[in-house]
């Protein structure tokens, strides 16, 4: 199964023969279904590609401040939250979009809030101290257990049933290695689990775990880092693990967390997925997904956030003790402003740096590649009586609903955490990472596809499990993420480009903070990078 099998839908034309007969016809009728494609503002971002042509070289209005944060994703927001919490008031955060949150943004329909991207946070391990502090400040910790570990309010832990898998034309509970494995996979399963325990229990001489979150706290044992040089698929081949079901599950995990197929995910990243978090760790989730976390951080920053602001040029401090200068354009008022600051926290993805930071050579960001994603929010009517419901919004529907025969990740149900005894209308959030085509081509295709082409592909994919969904959807809203996730391809995480040695010496005054610096697009990594940058501001 390849991306090409999806291409006819995305392309909308019957250009390529479909290789999978079980995929429904793509000529789904969208009659009576409304919707639109929402942000992110590709135009504004692409303005940068032209080198900021037409924008003033030296904006007349100048603002002085100690610290400026550019980028209102989780890294930037956490940096601001940290500064604020430490009483450092002289800073601002600039965001290109009209709201902060980055890939954790959320939306709202008449039925429920819903996520536009990240939709859950695993209960953080001890190493994720920043995340724990955020959750505690949010009031989600209701006590401590005997070991002093936080107890989270069960309202915000994902309610049961958490996951189900559509396979062989029926739903089965759970999505895990054990739930997909058949009796003949027993030997491989046992071998995999035994390796997993080994890696999970590993401690090096300094007491570091093999795979930690944040990943900077992981062991540097050369044998472990060598895993980064091969793909997870190559690793499985080397072990002789061939079960298609086990491979399906591992591939699903890689697509889910990294936007990469098994062939393109480094084996280090692959094992990180399984080992970095405690066994059977639970997840925190909300109707709006990680929008809940964004909302908390945003409120902590108050009026220090300026949205709809394009940063089009950054000049580092240089030698003469000058300040960092940041030229911006307010997209609403079209006013340009130059900010002069002691410290700049550059909380934008690295691929933007050559377009924004003067003297930033493209070769420094070339190995940073990003997976494009399509996220769809389907507003589903609840007019039918719950007692008649058999399908997706019945009371038996899980939070996360995965399709075995699909390159999508299935959907999550926004109203799952609702405490109502009667399920009704809901919003389903559908995720499709484009993993089988190189990111540049996939991005182009995603960008060229129309709303109806994409909406039909979403409905067509879900129709295998929910043939009547098309009749019950009122709206389909779509988000095209051109650069949704940094891709942990082999060699990236422990290669020299990501480690950015000497980068900050080269660009004095600029502190970089983004999850792509970890090679893992995770809330824990983004918040860690943000907090580290903030601590640097505070310490010097």
């Amino acid at each position: 199964m390849t991306w090409m099998s999806l291409a006819p839908w995305v392309m909308g034309a019957g250009a390529c023969g479909r290789s999978r007969s079980e995929l429904p016809d793509h000529s789904v009728s969208l009659e009576g279904i409304e919707g639109e494609i929402v942000g992110p503002s590709m135009e504004a971002g692409h303005l940068l590609r032209s080198g900021g042509a037409g924008l003033p070289a030296s904006p007349p209005e100048v603002q002085e401040l100690d610290t400026l944060i550019v980028g209102g994703g989780i890294a930037g927001l956490t940096a601001g939250w940290r500064l604020n919490g430490e009483g450092h008031g002289d800073f601002k955060l600039l965001e290109l979009e009209n709201e902060v949150g980055g890939k954790s943004r959320s939306g709202r329909s008449s039925i429920s809030p819903y996520p536009w991207g990240a939709h859950y946070l695993p209960v953080p391990s001890r190493e994720s101290a920043i995340v724990r502090k955020i959750l505690e400040e949010m009031g989600l910790v209701i006590g401590r257990d005997a070991d002093g570990e936080p107890i989270y309010d069960p309202r915000h832990l994902c309610h049961a049933p958490q996951e189900r898998l559509f396979v062989g034309n029926r739903w089965q509970p759970g999505v895990s290695l054990r739930s997909v494995a058949e009796p003949e996979d027993a030997a491989e399963l046992a071998a995999f689990e035994s390796r997993l325990r080994e890696l999970r229990d590993f401690r090096d001489e300094q007491g570091r775990r093999a795979f930690a979150l944040p990943m900077e706290l992981s062991s540097r044992d050369p044998g472990l880092l060598a895993l980064d040089r091969i793909s997870m698929a190559e690793y499985l081949d080397a072990e002789g693990w061939t079960s298609p079901r086990i491979r399906w599950y591992l591939d699903y995990c890689c697509r889910d967390d990294y936007g990469c197929s098994l062939d393109e995910t480094s084996a280090w990243a692959g094992w990180h997925y399984f080992c970095a978090r405690p066994e059977d760790s639970e997840v925190l989730t909300w109707p709006e997904g990680n929008g809940r976390l964004v909302d908390f951080l945003r409120r902590a920053l108050g009026n220090r956030i300026e949205t709809s602001t394009l940063v089009y040029r950054v000049r580092s401090a240089g030698d003469g003790g000058e300040r960092v200068s940041v030229d911006t354009l307010n997209l609403k008022t079209q006013v340009t402003t130059r900010f002069r600051c002691r410290r700049l926290i550059y909380a934008l993805p690295r691929f933007t740096a050559p377009y924004v930071i003067e003297g930033f050579d493209r070769s420094l960001s070339r190995s940073f590649t990003y997976a494009p994603w399509l996220v769809a929010n389907l507003t589903v009517d609840g007019r039918r009586r719950p007692s008649q419901n058999q399908g997706y919004f019945s009371s038996q529907t899980a939070w996360d609903n995965v399709l075995y025969d699909s390159r999508s990740l299935g959907y999550v149900v926004a109203t799952h955490q609702n405490l109502s005894a009667y399920p009704g209308a809901t919003v389903l959030t559908y995720y499709l990472p484009f993993v089988d085509l190189d990111p540049v081509s996939a991005r182009t295709r995603l960008q060229q596809a129309s709303w109806s082409e994409l909406a039909a592909s979403v409905l067509g994919d879900l129709a295998q499990a929910h043939p009547d969904l098309v009749k019950r959807v009122d709206r389909i809203d779509l988000m095209r993420w051109g650069h949704a996730m940094i891709r942990p391809v082999p060699g990236f995480i422990w290669g020299s480009d990501r480690r950015h040695d000497g980068l900050e010496e080269k660009f004095p005054g600029i502190l970089f903070a983004h999850s792509d610096m970890s090679g893992l697009s995770l809330f824990e990594e983004a918040s860690y990078r943000g907090a580290v940058a903030a601590d640097r501001v505070l310490s010097c």
Binding site: A160, P161, Q162, R385, P386, Q390, S395, L419, A421, Y422
Partner: protein, 536 residues
Amino acid sequence: MEANPTDPVGRSGTPSPAGGQVATPENGVFARALLISVFVIATCGLIYELLAGTIASYLLGDSVTQFSTIIGVYLFAMGVGSWLSRFVLRELVTMFVRIEILVGLVGGLTSPVLFLAFAEVSAFRVILYGWVTLTGILVGLEIPLLMRILEHELPFADLVSRVLSLDYLGALAASLLFPLWLVPRLGLMRSSFLFGVLNLLVAVATCHLFADRLAARRRVTAQAWGALVLLLLGLMSSERLMSFAEQRLYDQPVIYADSSPYQRLVITRKLDEVRLFLDGNLQFSSRDEYRYHEALVHPAMTYFEQPRTNVLVLGGGDGFAVREILRYPSVERVVLVDLDPLMVKVFRDHDELSGLNGFALRDPRVEVVHQDAFIWLDRLDEQFDLVIVDFPDPRNFSLGKLYSTTFYQRLTAALRPGAVVAVQSTSPLHTREAFWCVNKTLKTVGFHTLPYHATVPSFGKWGFILAAAQPLDVAVFQAEAAGRLPQGLKYLAPGLLPGLFLFPPDMGPVDVDENRLNNQAVVEYHERGWKATPPT
């Protein structure tokens, strides 16, 4: 338009020379009439198939399976019918009319037969597929016969092209009509009869237009009319038949049935016994509901000497628990929270049914709130000295949330010092694990509990749990509490009370997990229990 055909097909079955009468006007009428009937027949045929598929999905669920298997069986049966057509050698028109009558009857009765079969017969699937096969065979006979009747009226190429295109056109008409107009406007029962009637109109019209081609003309014509009248009668009484069909699902006469956005409410009565079903699940029988409600309310009401004044009832929109609570003159206010306004409407405003709860819901001390209990409780800033928790059994994950640690935790905030809670906790005999899971869950959030049970013949052994912030002692029921019981109870006699707290070994405590939102253990226990001992 008197037809005077010269071709004696109907009478003799002897074929006329090919192309012989194509041009005559009489034959034009004959052919045109039969071609129109092709369209009607095709439409009807597909409608019957769609009806069977829809009813099977509606009654059995899993629409993909139902539609796939029904379409498959139906098409196969049509093939059988087409094959069987070779054995019809003579009297083609007569045979066609007879088959038309049968198709009309069998197809037209699809809905009533299937609905009644589901209620009455355990082998519903046998009847379903049998009926679909019979319809398919008859429908499969129609087109081959028609083509043979018409074979001398039209050139072969023309015939095949016209008959088949009309056949497919009819299928299109049916498949559009069915979801867009028939199901939403007419419903399954009426649609079924209506298309049976259309089939029979074709039969009747054929009888009259081509009377001289029929053998046994009078008999066949009479049969066609008879069947038509029968189906018209069915069409006119569709409404009544539908409720009759529903009645068959219950074993007593239905006296009231209505749907709210939340559930289907059906009330039956036989002699003096009234029963309430929600979505097909028995909620009470008037013959023994007092046992359940006396057991639910009075131990909690009498445990403390301090009289209860402010009472909260969660669930229980039937008003029976409120009736028991209002026996105590100390009660100043009862807040009843039930999501479904229909329940309260029926048990407060319906004169006869509200008599069952002694018009409790009309009492000025009672305030009714229509909200989801958990969500209402979350926003509550009032406190009560007694709470009756009377939710439906935790038979799904949505209801399971109302039995969770988080729910009970929130409930503690609604309690005054010295308050008591009584929780309906499903059957400790049938679903022993679920019962003790509720007990464990209450204890996990800090309640002290006293589990007890009562015998309610309609339900079997039923379980309840008394819960409070302070330790509870069953000895209270041996002495003072019994003396506080109100007059006029039919089940709870003072001497009986302490016995309710004794659990025989087959209902005794088991080691279970507490029910949390993120494990919903009680749902699994409940399902496991009822699977082992299905409700009677």
